[in-house]
């Protein structure tokens, strides 16, 4: 009855996953362990004067209103990046899917930004919106907007969100388009014959059938907003003005690599790690239940 292939010896499956396991151990578990280790010590920059302080680093962090403020910034930032990123790319994918003539050109152009490194994306956007030389800033000023993201925190946040979303749209777009194309045409045709218009068809058939893709992208985008947008923040605003764009991962970098405070930086990595684990588990346990596969 058993049709699945089975390995005769016990060790072959382990040997096969060993390379992957080794990579995971060396590049994920080891650094993560280091972060946990550092988080309970304080030390000077050169590693001398190592003192065990228990959970003091964590306590200091949660008593620091600026660290707590960074949580808020991160929350706003990631909701905006994930929300805007997903909706804009879904819209683009739906339109690209409907186009018959020149579809390849549109698709190729939409995929391009993915090849741009985050830091470069930030530099491009900063160049456009630079208060003194940027062309977009010039238009904004002509339209009566007092544009100076160097000083205005909300404007700075909008700028990094725009750059982060722009950069991620291509990735989302690809997955959405693939998802759309795998929806059986017969279903849509049947609905059309029954008299459902394009909007109704999208809401009742396309969107539910697309939900596995949407869910997958939601996880990816949240992680992207938390971690991978570092390059954009660093190149565009360095966390400023004030702390308006200082997301958790940027603060961690600043304290650890510029401030050389490895204890606090380690504690911040541990907290960030816990947040991402919790978010991912939450998404898989609760959001996934609402997803049609």
């Amino acid at each position: 009855m058993e049709k699945r292939a089975r390995f005769r010896s016990a060790w072959v499956p382990y040997a096969l996953i060993l390379p992957q396991l080794a990579v995971t151990l060396v590049f994920f578990f080891w650094p993560a362990g280091q972060a946990v280790y550092q988080s309970v010590y304080i030390q000077d920059a050169f590693g001398g004067n190592l003192q065990f302080v228990g959970l003091d680093n964590f306590r200091d962090l949660f008593n620091d209103e600026h660290y707590l403020a960074s949580f808020k910034v991160t929350a706003v930032f990631s909701v905006l990046v994930a929300g805007l990123g997903l909706s804009v790319s879904l819209l683009l994918a739906v339109f690209a899917d409907r186009i018959v003539r020149g579809a390849t050109v549109y698709k190729t152009l939409l995929i391009w930004p993915y090849a741009v490194a985050p830091a470069i994306a930030a530099v491009l956007w900063v160049f456009l919106f630079n208060p003194s030389i940027g062309i977009a800033a010039y238009w904004l000023k002509r339209a009566g907007v007092d544009w100076n993201f160097v000083l205005d925190g909300d404007q700075a946040l909008m700028l990094v969100v725009a750059a982060a979303v722009w950069k991620q749209i291509s990735y989302n777009f690809l997955f959405f388009l693939a998802g759309l194309q795998s929806i059986p045409k017969s279903l849509l045709e049947a609905a059309a014959i029954d008299g459902a218009g394009p909007v109704k068809r999208f809401l009742t058939i396309v969107f539910p059938l697309l939900s596995p893709t949407t869910f997958f992208l939601l996880v990816i985008n949240v992680v992207y907003a938390f971690i991978d947008t570092f390059g954009i923040i660093d190149a565009a605003t360095s966390g400023g003005p004030g702390q308006s764009t200082e997301i958790l991962v940027y603060k961690l970098y600043k304290d650890g690599f510029k401030g050389l405070d490895l204890g606090s930086s380690g504690a911040q990595s541990v907290i960030l790690m816990l947040i991402l684990i919790t978010l991912t588990v939450f998404q898989f346990r609760f959001v996934e239940k609402k997803v049609h596969y």
């Binding site: 280790y37 001398g48 208060p131 160097v150 510029k258």
Partner: protein, 441 residues
């Protein structure tokens, strides 16, 4: 880390041995990590090349390692892995961190003495040497590129606005009056901006007015000073600047050198920044400009005193062989040559760090040919006081970031000058306490 370290170290050892076996035996090669870009990078490579050609025993490898914080973080990681460079260029704000790193560094004065090289701290400009000297009077690092805060102004704009282009504003109220005229006449869209706001408008500003910035002689007298730059004078000045920002006389353009481009593009008419910006400005400005002393408040007793230094010095890392230290000492001796120092000063806009280099430049007629280039020198060559010698704080880099954040809150009107400075002092003091915990003497 322990296991990783030893494996890594063995690997490094093996590869270094291979490298050594391949190269000629007698030459001692040392690494020199720096953070100089553009023309200054060329100049450093040139120094290293000339040094290597001048003798056969030692070879200095000058390597660019990114920005100051990047070079320092890189060197620290390398030190922990047992492969630190022999010489490292460290920004002035990193000084306290390096000083407290016992064992990780070797005092320059010691390096020179061990190698039998003559080394007299007295040949250095006092404000420069004092910054890198510990409480016991020992000079810990080799002063290299030091700059200070000066005032640049656009002469063409001054003329257009009906101001005398040969009479730069000397005091802050005069700057303000000039700004009002520039704005009203429409001679420039931006009247005044400042680079390095914390360094120029608070740190150097305090020394210039002989006003204390932090207790314990601004941190020179111990690891646990308290910040006090929220005093009446600083609050008055930052409050004034907030007011000018509101009136459109002062345009904020960024934390580091971004405002300099606003000046040399012609957008802003007046700028306070590092004297080392001279080269870049001269290269880019398509108008007549001049350098003037940093403005001050004439009613403050003791002002103007002296401004304080920025820039970097060269540190010798610990755990090296005797020959490597000898190589470093020889290289420092090579760099100390007054002629070389004078060239460095004249081509970069950095200060002449020895008095001899200053005299040499003066004699060559350089200052007459390039008016204003001696402004920075004159601001520095005075007898310093305990309040003006400089500022040396643990975690200074983070404190600067904190000051930047709070100043931005003030410029944008989210906080008053007093609220912002109080917050910066409180947050900065936490950083100092944190530093003192790991840096016990």
């Amino acid at each position: 880390m322990a296991h990783g370290n030893s494996v890594f170290r063995r690997f490094l050892l093996a590869s270094t041995m291979l490298a050594f076996a391949a190269s000629a035996q007698a030459v001692t090669e040392i690494q020199f990590w720096h953070a100089m870009t553009g023309a200054n990078n060329d100049r450093i490579n040139d120094f290293a090349k000339k040094f290597n050609e001048s003798q056969k025993e030692y070879k200095v490898n000058a390597v660019f390692k990114g920005s100051y914080p990047e070079a320092m973080a890189g060197a620290i990681a390398a030190y922990r892995a047992g492969s630190a460079p022999a010489i490292l260029q460290v920004q002035e704000v990193g000084t306290a961190t390096m000083m407290s790193a016992k064992g990780a560094i070797k005092p320059v004065q010691q390096v020179m003495a061990d190698a039998g090289e003559k080394f007299d701290p007295k040949v250095y400009v006092p404000a420069v040497a004092g910054y890198y000297t510990n409480t016991k009077g020992q000079m810990l690092s080799f002063p290299f590129n030091s700059s200070t805060t000066v005032f640049f102004y656009n002469k063409d704009v001054f003329e257009k606005a009906g101001l005398d282009p040969n009479r730069p504003p000397a005091t802050w109220p005069e700057v303000m009056a000039a700004a009002a005229k520039i704005k009203a006449s429409g001679a420039a869209t931006c009247a005044f901006t400042t680079a390095w706001q914390s360094w120029v408008q608070l740190e150097s500003f305090s020394a210039w007015h002989n006003t204390v910035f932090a207790t314990k002689e601004n941190g020179f007298g111990g690891n646990d000073p308290k910040l006090v730059f929220n005093g009446p004078l600083q609050v008055r000045h930052i409050g004034n600047m907030q007011d000018w920002a509101k009136k459109g006389y002062f345009t904020y353009a960024g934390r580091k050198t971004e405002p300099e481009s606003k000046f040399y593009s012609g957008e802003c008419a007046m700028l306070t920044t590092s004297s080392a910006a001279y080269g870049t400005i001269k290269q880019n400005a398509k108008f007549k400009f001049a350098v003037a002393p940093l403005p001050y408040y004439a009613d403050v007793a003791g002002a103007p005193q002296n401004t304080i230094i920025g820039g970097a010095s060269l540190w010798v890392m610990g755990g090296k062989s005797k020959d490597e230290y000898k190589a470093a000492a020889k290289f420092f001796k090579f760099l100390s040559d007054p002629e070389r120092q004078a060239i460095w000063h004249q081509t970069t806009g950095y200060l002449p760090i020895t008095l001899a280099a200053y005299e040499l430049t003066k004699k060559s007629g350089f200052y007459e040919k390039n008016p204003g280039t001696d402004v920075s020198v004159k601001q520095m060559i005075v007898k310093t006081t305990d309040k003006s010698r400089g500022i040396r704080l643990g975690n200074f880099l983070q404190i600067r970031d904190i000051i930047d954040e709070e100043l931005e809150n003030i410029w944008s009107g989210k906080k008053t000058a007093k609220e912002g400075l109080d917050a910066a002092v409180a947050r900065g003091n936490e950083q100092i306490e944190k530093f003192a915990k790991t840096a016990k003497e």
